[in-house]
Amino acid sequence: MAIHFSVNQQEVEVGPGEEEMPLLWFLREKLRLTGSKFGCGIGQCGACTVHINGTAVRSCLLPVGQLQGSQIRTIEGLAPTGQLHPVQQAWLDQDVPQCGYCQAGQIMAAVSLLERINQPTDQQISDNMTNICRCGTYTRIRKAIRQAAETHAEKPVTEA
């Protein structure tokens, strides 16, 4: 049976012989969603982070054959109406990105963190934000997460 799953709420089907293709390359090359980045290919850097059923996952090692029925969200699906997600807005307000290459992965990791723990402590931020930023934007990422957490506090998240 063909594998079906959704990406940013669009149904997609895995073609024959494609089951072993990692999700990252399926997104980048089949769907041309290039926001998720290739950084290491071994699950270390987090540049390829996407959400699978709401949880942040590194997509570079995950074969699409295992995704039957899953809901995938990528950076491109974070602001479907054009209105930025509060985490993206916080990233802009703190002017986080330097080269920018890791930032889609960082944002996806942060969104997932805040969906699970809406007021994370500094320790929880450190424990959950394990993506590499080669440019060293970590202190700003932390500030942006704190800012987004405050926005959350004012406006409880209703979306699951």
Binding site: F38, Q98, G100, G136, T137
Partner: protein, 736 residues
């Protein structure tokens, strides 16, 4: 789409009127020379003004995370007196190339290339003059229409205003005719810093929104028509040759189209002299990169080692350098002030220590990649490269196509750090496209990237220094590194009467390249660690000891390409500011310590204080850092702060983790699994920056925050625990 009849771009008018609107002589720096050559500032290539007064601007400078793509337009727009909010940025970045009188390929207009923390400096006068020229054109056009003197008119926020009467023209009204004007360069007036309305204020990066929404900004994201995706199986040992591979198996992978052998290439290179420029490899060309990677795995390539680079071993090399630095083999004397031997004999106390650093990897977050489309007599290269003219030169050399017929399209670089100034990844894509007669996109895996790096050299710096009555008395520094020379001008030279600096080279053919203030970092690590050790030996406070050393405040002339003086007063100011912010001298908890270090890099002064905690089990945590920077006029303060944060973290990462390990000519640190890299949990919670106010011409900020980091960390660890670390990476000696 707008109605084309309404789109009267200044660009078009200007070009139809002849491009030479004004001609001024501006300094032009190419990679190989700093010769003064005349260029024509055809500013209009970057700026188009629409009738409705909106502006479309292309950034004149490349971006690799150092914010130049934003700084360039700020300079131009400020002198033009543009309303920043009316500008739309066109992120397409072609490379404008021309030939100078000698026939060398040079950048036309702005110096788009970036590196050496010189980018801002190289473009400062050019972009300001270009902006002021456009402003003057607007003023003169308005004056003619109103039949009044241009001197009574002012430009403000994309308008020319006649203050006495209150009448106004928008730039959109004036642009088309203004563009045809000839401006007398003597009438150009650059603004005073107090008149800047865009510079000196925090402007967000012009493409920040595209970044946070995942727009395809990088070369690796590009979907070039008909390009085959390429993965290359590269020789794991330097110099190795292909022994055999299973071509059939690779071609059997669905999507794989071709398999091509790529020859090994050696040649002259900076700073290592002669090294491997490109590994031998087998290229797999496919419909997708995923298929190409699977094809590469199917090759099962076998290799035969050659003798050219046999037996290279980084750990052994480090020992060689250390032995060299500690030996009495004379080095090249870069400086020999006073009588260093006698001074050390007279000192109350003499300390002698060696400070060591490993090879540093670049690990740009975006793996190297390049698209090349070499046609019969023209070519297109799409790439993020620090010096894009190198792509045009490579096409000329490899395919015999005139470099001026090469279109080089620049993409935002996912990190550069000197690695993206190398030509290897351009050359292989160009070579392949030329060979197969089709566009190709070569993407490196992380393993390719780390194995085939051009590392920052390893180094060992031995310092013998004395103190007498609380002051430095004699300073003898022997600086050994894989290749290249030390600098001769750094403090405490000029401040210590008897000072000798020697340079030695290990001379083994490790592949080396530029990094982010690498030489400055190893110098600062050695010098600032030794200053600390001397202060303790003299029972002095490390800050007070440094401030006393900097007295009297004086600008010492130096003979150096990036600055003409070294000012002890500016350095002292940075030490003091960082220390004040940190609350230097306050009472700390048990296990906490503050460390201070500073350095002058390419004319920019930086000092940092770092607070760490070390527990009884030698478990280290980095708590907070405070930095002060004097980089002349602060064009975009928030981005200077960002560089202070990121650069300092890069330096901390070098101090703690970054060690490229090479055994038997094979790189062992092949991915982030073997090469640990700093993450959020290891980073200080906060880094605060003070920018010293200044009206001096701006100097670079990309590299200067890096060099002080290792010494600030070593000094803080010592203050917290009494443990003195003199060998990077520190994570071998302390837990983190």
């Amino acid at each position: 789409m707008q109605n084309p009849h309404r789109r009267h771009f200044l660009k078009i008018s200007a070009l139809s009127a002849g491009a030479m609107l004004v001609s001024v002589t501006l300094p032009l720096r190419t990679r190989s020379s700093s010769a003064q050559q005349p260029v024509s500032p055809q500013w209009c290539v970057y700026v188009s003004i629409n009738r409705d007064n909106s502006v479309v601007m292309q950034s004149p400078i490349m971006e690799m995370g150092q914010f130049m793509r934003t700084a360039g337009p700020m300079i131009l727009a400020d002198e033009m007196d543009l309303d920043w909010s009316l500008i739309r940025f066109d992120l397409n970045m072609p490379t404008y190339l021309t030939r100078n009188r000698k026939g060398d390929l040079v950048y036309d207009h702005a110096q788009i290339g970036t590196g050496g923390s010189q980018t801002l400096k190289n473009n400062w006068t050019y972009l300001r003059t270009a902006g002021a020229t456009i402003r003057r054109m607007m003023i003169e056009e308005a004056a003619e229409r109103w039949d009044c003197s241009p001197e009574r008119l002012t430009a403000r926020l994309s308008q020319i205003i006649d203050t006495p009467t209150g009448r106004k023209f928008s730039y959109g009204d004036l642009a088309e005719k203004a563009a045809r004007r000839q401006v007398d360069t003597n009438k150009l007036k650059l603004k005073q810093p107090a008149q800047f309305h865009i510079m000196g204020k925090n402007q967000p990066a012009i493409d920040a929104r595209d970044i946070v929404t995942g727009a395809p900004l990088f070369g690796i994201d590009e979907n070039y028509a008909n390009a085959l995706r390429v993965a290359i199986d590269r020789a794991p040992a330097m110099g190795a040759q292909i022994a055999g591979y299973d071509k059939k198996a690779a071609l059997a992978v669905p999507g794989v189209r071709q398999v091509v052998e790529m020859p090994h290439e050696s040649g002259p290179h900076w700073p290592d002299g002669e090294t491997q420029l490109r590994a031998a490899g087998v290229a797999v060309l496919a419909d997708s990169f995923w298929a190409a990677m699977r094809g590469k795995d199917a090759l099962k390539t076998t290799w035969k080692d050659t003798h050219q680079y046999a037996g290279l071993n980084s750990k052994a090399h480090r020992e060689t350098l250390k032995a060299l630095a500690r030996s009495d083999q004379p080095g090249k004397h870069l400086r020999d002030d006073g009588e260093v031997t006698r001074a050390l004999q007279q000192a109350d106390k003499v300390l002698e220590h060696c400070y060591e650093r490993s090879f540093l990897a670049h690990a740009c977050m975006e793996p190297l990649n390049c698209i090349a489309d070499v046609r019969k007599d023209s070519a297109t290269v799409v790439v993020g490269h620090q010096w894009p003219h190198a792509a045009a030169l490579a096409v000329e050399e490899i395919a015999g196509i005139d470099a001026l017929k090469v279109e080089v399209i620049n993409k935002r670089m996912g990190g550069g750090f000197g690695r993206k100034g190398e030509a290897d990844y351009l050359r292989e894509a160009i070579w392949l496209s030329h060979k197969v007669g089709q566009p190709v996109q070569v993407i490196w895996t992380r393993e390719n990237d780390m194995e085939r790096d051009f590392f920052a050299p390893a180094a060992a710096v031995q310092i013998r220094a004395g103190v007498k009555q609380g002051r430095i008395h004699g300073w003898h520094m022997r600086h050994a590194q894989t290749a290249g020379e030390a600098e001769s001008h750094n403090f405490p030279a000029h401040l210590v009467r008897d000072c000798r600096i020697e340079s030695l080279a290990g001379n083994e053919p490790f592949p080396l390249g530029t990094w982010r203030g690498p030489r400055q970092m190893q110098q600062a690590f050695a010098i600032e660690s030794m200053l600390d050790e001397l202060a303790h030996a003299a029972a002095a406070d490390p800050l007070a000891f440094r401030l006393a050393l900097m007295e009297p405040a004086k600008a010492h002339p130096i003979d150096y390409w990036a600055a003409d003086h070294l000012d002890s007063g500016r350095m002292a100011r940075c030490y003091r500011s960082a220390a004040e912010m940190a609350g230097w001298g306050r009472k700390l908890e048990k296990g906490e310590g503050l460390g201070i270090a500073g350095h002058v890099t390419f004319g920019t002064y930086v000092a940092f204080v770092l607070q760490v905690h070390v527990d009884d089990n030698k478990q280290l945590s980095l708590q907070k850092a405070w930095g002060a920077i004097d980089c002349g006029f602060a064009v975009n303060p928030n981005h200077i702060r960002a560089q202070m944060e990121g650069g300092f973290i890069d330096g901390l990462n070098a101090a703690l983790f970054n060690e490229a390990v090479i055994e038997d000519s094979r790189v062992q640190t092949r991915n982030f699994g073997q090469l640990r890299w700093m993450r959020m949990g290891e980073t200080p919670l906060e880094i605060e920056t003070e920018i010293i106010e200044s009206d001096r011409e701006p100097t670079g900020v990309g590299e200067p925050p890096v060099p002080p980091a290792p010494a600030a960390l070593a000094n803080a660890i010592f203050a917290a625990s009494g443990l003195r670390l003199r060998r990077m990476p520190f994570s071998e000696h302390i837990r983190i």
